[in-house]
Amino acid sequence: MNGDFQAPTIEYGTLAPLLVVFGAAIIGVLVEAFAPRYLRKPIHVPLTLLSLAGAFALVLVQVMGGQVPTTASAMGALAVDGPSLFIWGVILVLSFVCVLLINDEGHFVASAAAVPGSADEEEAEAHSGGVGHTEVYPLVLFAVGGMLLFPASHDLLMMFVALEVMSLPLYLLCGLARRRRLLSQEASMKYFLLGAFSSAFFLYGTAMIYGFAGTVSLPGINRAMAAGNTLDPLLLIGFSLLGVGLLFKIGAAPFQAWKPDVYQGAPTPITALMASGTLVAAFGAVLRVFWVGLGNLDWNWRPVIWVVAALTMIVGSILAITQTEIKRMLAYSSIAHAGFLLVGVMATYGSAERNADSLKAILFYLAVYGVTTVGAFAVVTLIRDPGGEAGHLSRWAGLGKRAPLLAGVFAFFLLAFAGIPLTSGFFGKYAVFAAALDSGTQPGDSMGGWMAGLVVVGVVASAIAAFFYVRVIVLMFFSDPAADGPAIAVPSMGTVAVIAVSLLVTVGVGLYPESVLGIANQAASSLFIR
């Protein structure tokens, strides 16, 4: 260091989607500061939607123009490769539809700081004119920005920053529900405490691994492993701690406890965003860390992931059976699906070809699962009681007779979750199971029989999971409606659009999966930059 300062090279074109989202988020904050109250929402809505659409268009431009970079960007801090761009596309689409749900009135509290049930709350409510906190929009944009950054981070420190950028707004958003505010605040608190804890794990892990490798860059760590002793305690401890941090975010067992509480308490559009966008982002990061950073450690991590995947599938599907609240049930369902996805992660080791094949499966699964999830939560927002959404399952009895169309659509989403053929969910499940079995037959794989075993665990869990999905269908269609059943809210244009798009994708991909599969295949074939 002799005083020379080298300006960093930043590939602005490549990073443009990120910059648009973060830029819009900052403008959103300024709007909150300077625009009068009545103007805020009319500015936020187009700003948010346009920036997400614009970012998506920029992603498309890069993909169509064949400008997918093959080296890391921003001085090695970020890797915008094929899988990243696919994940970005998926996250942007999902967050766009989630914002359509967020636009609906009545989801967010007018004054989060007011004590629930107090006079302050009433006053704030009266002043707001039905519009809750408009800070929601910039917060969502920051969260989405974090989601984009997370899977594209090329070193662990950047990944940590992304994790925080993604999580902090979400902690806050969870506590903003207009109805059942105590539950919402409890959810927010739990998510924050557990999330902070897991972030600390991640950071400790990063520090340990730095101690081993002398670098936080993912390919650097992998190279250090190839050269050094892979049984170094620093590395093993670091890797375990890092794993805890990541597995927490995807809600894998035994780190799944936050999911049901948070999903239940958070405003439903935010739950939809977390269940789709966050899951996609977190899996992107998991895939990158395990393939790029820990590729030379697969002998160590695969048995661990085997156990976690099996446990996650079983815990998710068994505990879901006992749930009586629709959002909690969907949360456990999301845990089970995280387990199915981990089966795919198990298969992403070894040769590049092998990796691309499994990667394709997971990317496809993430895309179709995310879309179906948002659709399902959109339906949940419409079934209402006087005190908010009718969450208790008993309230859903006989819905098929009162609102056949809505119940039919929801039943279809549930069948897709259950993985019944001719829905998109089936092909997702098929893809990861096929990838796992395929990897098990690779010559020299010491875990061949174990992979088959894991897939069998997977199908048993699917059968158990089918039970609770089917149970809701039984309730909706085969039970008689309650005398004072919940009201079916008249859906806004946005909600209708969300449900329609989700249905169309779930049906369309179910009939012709090649449409999405082809894109996932292309994205996966370029692999994560190593």
């Binding site: 199908v459 089917v470 085969f478 039970s479 599969l517």
Partner: protein, 518 residues
């Protein structure tokens, strides 16, 4: 490339969409459209079947389109003799079921006005029926194993809703049990399907190309297990049969006919087509355990049937016994027994279909499925009683009725099969012959208790069969008697594909030659 099968599959689903989109209050129109569509499919199938050449290629009317290149999946369809007769069975049954179910969703009332099943959506019922028809044709026509699996699983859903929404008092329990059993079996099969693809390493799911692709005997056994368990649940075979009596008893009579008559046949069809031909060594290795299960099913189903008080449950248990015969025939590894088994699949569809429908008409008049609630029906409704008796006699395989031919072929083929050399199959045939006597007991006893004796008080108000109901049963009875005396047209179509199956299983030719006498 022949467009026949894709057209056959497309017509009902288009019909279903039309029916579903009809405006509110057009229930009658919905029924008429459904009947028309199902008759159209029947005619189309008839025309197609006339062009089937039994001495030609194994798979005819073949069509292949790329469906999911990334997975190596094709939309591949084509039929051999066995598939053709099963498709024919399905498309014959559907219009009859439509007619039989004409008022099932209208809110069925007994003569004295008590409501048996409440009013439900008529359009949905008939749309589901047509969707099911597409899937039934698809599952038998699929030559791509992945496509077969897709239909195998997807066809559960319309049936699930038909049982769950339109069935009896315990309907939701029965529907869920049906779905979960089948789904679980199907998922195990999915693992085996993936395993087959991966281990064969041919990048295709096309059945003809996968025959003989798995050589490793251990791997064959595992994959065979995955397929077989799914098919055994579907068929159903003892001890995984418990869902059938519940589902069949709770389903509306029309749906029960399709459930037992067609859907369950997918199990035995799958054993014949996939288990035997894809995994011949495993099939031979497992022959004895499976034969034992089949014999248990035959005897157990028959004995339990005798003890039933509910007519539909009784018929369901007789079917478990009959499915035992079919499985026995499939695994006896002789051409007589296998041809008999394939023929049995068709004949059982007609015979049990007729019995279920006749029982359904009876139940619709009284609102009770219990045998004890009837008596002396013959005096007030002689036509109904007559049809009931003929259907019953077909169920107990009376000579001269179609089931007799197939049951006899299965037993004689099993008796003389040398597949296991030791005469073990001979013993199996002798034990299963006991069921013939038991069958006489369960059928005749049921007929006697419902049709003969003093006329029970509520029965006196019974009307005899309406013209619509006669139109449902008459064709079935005609088929039962017709194929009873002259099964040759069916056998001519079935025999070549069975020969092909046995060749692929590499059963010594002497066994095959012995069967050609039939």
């Amino acid at each position: 490339m022949s467009p026949w099968l894709p057209i056959l599959m497309a017509v009902p689903v288009v019909g279903a969409i039309v029916v579903a989109l009809l405006p509110k209050g057009s229930d009658k129109l919905a029924k008429q459209v459904t009947l028309l569509v199902s008759l159209l499919v029947l005619v189309l199938t008839g025309v197609m079947a006339a062009g089937f050449d039994p001495s030609g290629d194994r798979f005819q009317f073949v069509a292949e389109y790329n469906w999911i290149p990334s997975f190596g999946v094709k939309f591949g369809v084509g039929v051999d003799g066995v598939a053709l007769v099963l498709i024919a069975l399905s498309v014959v049954l559907v219009p009859l079921v439509v007619l039989a179910s004409w008022h099932d969703a209208d809110g069925v009332k007994t003569a004295d006005g008590t409501l048996i099943t409440p009013k439900r959506s008529v359009k949905t019922y008939f749309a589901l029926l047509l969707v099911l028809e597409t899937m039934m044709i698809g599952v038998f026509a699929a030559t791509d194993i992945f496509l077969f699996y897709v239909f195998f699983e997807a066809m559960l859903i319309p049936m699930y809703f038909m049982i769950g929404s339109y069935g009896g008092a315990q309907r939701s329990y029965a529907a869920v049990k049906f779905l979960l059993y089948s789904l679980f079996g199907g998922l195990l099969m999915l693992v085996a399907v993936i395993g087959l693809y991966v281990v064969a390493g041919k990048q295709t799911f096309m059945f003809p190309e996968l025959v003989g692709a798995i050589q490793d005997p251990t791997m064959q056994k595992w994959l065979f297990g995955g397929f077989f368990i799914a098919f055994a649940i579907k068929a159903p075979l003892w001890p995984v049969h418990t869902w059938l009596p519940d589902a069949a008893a709770q389903a509306p009579a029309g749906a029960a006919v399709l459930l037992v008559g067609v859907l369950d046949k997918v199990g035995t069809f799958g054993m014949l087509r996939f288990c035997l031909e894809l995994f011949p060594d495993a099939a031979k290795a497992f022959t004895m355990p499976i034969v034992v299960l089949a014999v248990i099913s035959i005897v157990y189903g028959a004995i339990v049937a005798i003890g039933q008080t509910d007519m539909k449950r009784l018929i369901a248990y007789t079917s478990i016994s009959h499915f035992g015969f079919i499985v026995l025939g499939v695994f006896a590894m002789s051409s007589v027994a296998q041809s008999g088994a394939a023929l049995y699949m068709v004949n059982h569809g007609f015979a049990t279909g007729a019995l279920f429908l006749a029982a359904g008409f009876l139940i619709a008049r009284r609102g009770s499925p219990y045998i004890g609630d009837y008596g002396g029906v013959q005096k007030v409704a002689p036509v109904l009683a007559g049809f009931f008796l003929i259907a019953g006699l077909a169920g107990l395989s009376l000579p001269g009725l179609s089931s007799f031919v197939s049951e006899f072929m299965v037993m004689i083929g099993t008796y003389s099969s040398q597949a296991h050399g030791s005469g073990a199959l001979t013993v199996a045939a002798i034990i299963s012959a006991v069921a013939v006597i038991l069958a006489a007991v369960y059928i005749l006893w049921m007929v006697q208790r419902t049709m003969n004796g003093p006329t029970a008080e509520p029965v006196k108000a019974f009307k005899d069969l309406s013209a619509r109901e006669v139109w449902v049963l008459a064709p079935l009875v005609a088929l039962i008697i017709g194929f009873g005396f002259f099964p040759k047209p069916l056998l001519d179509v079935i025999n070549p594909s069975v020969q092909q199956t046995l060749t692929n299983v590499q059963v010594p030719t002497s066994t095959i030659a012995e069967g050609t006498g039939q």
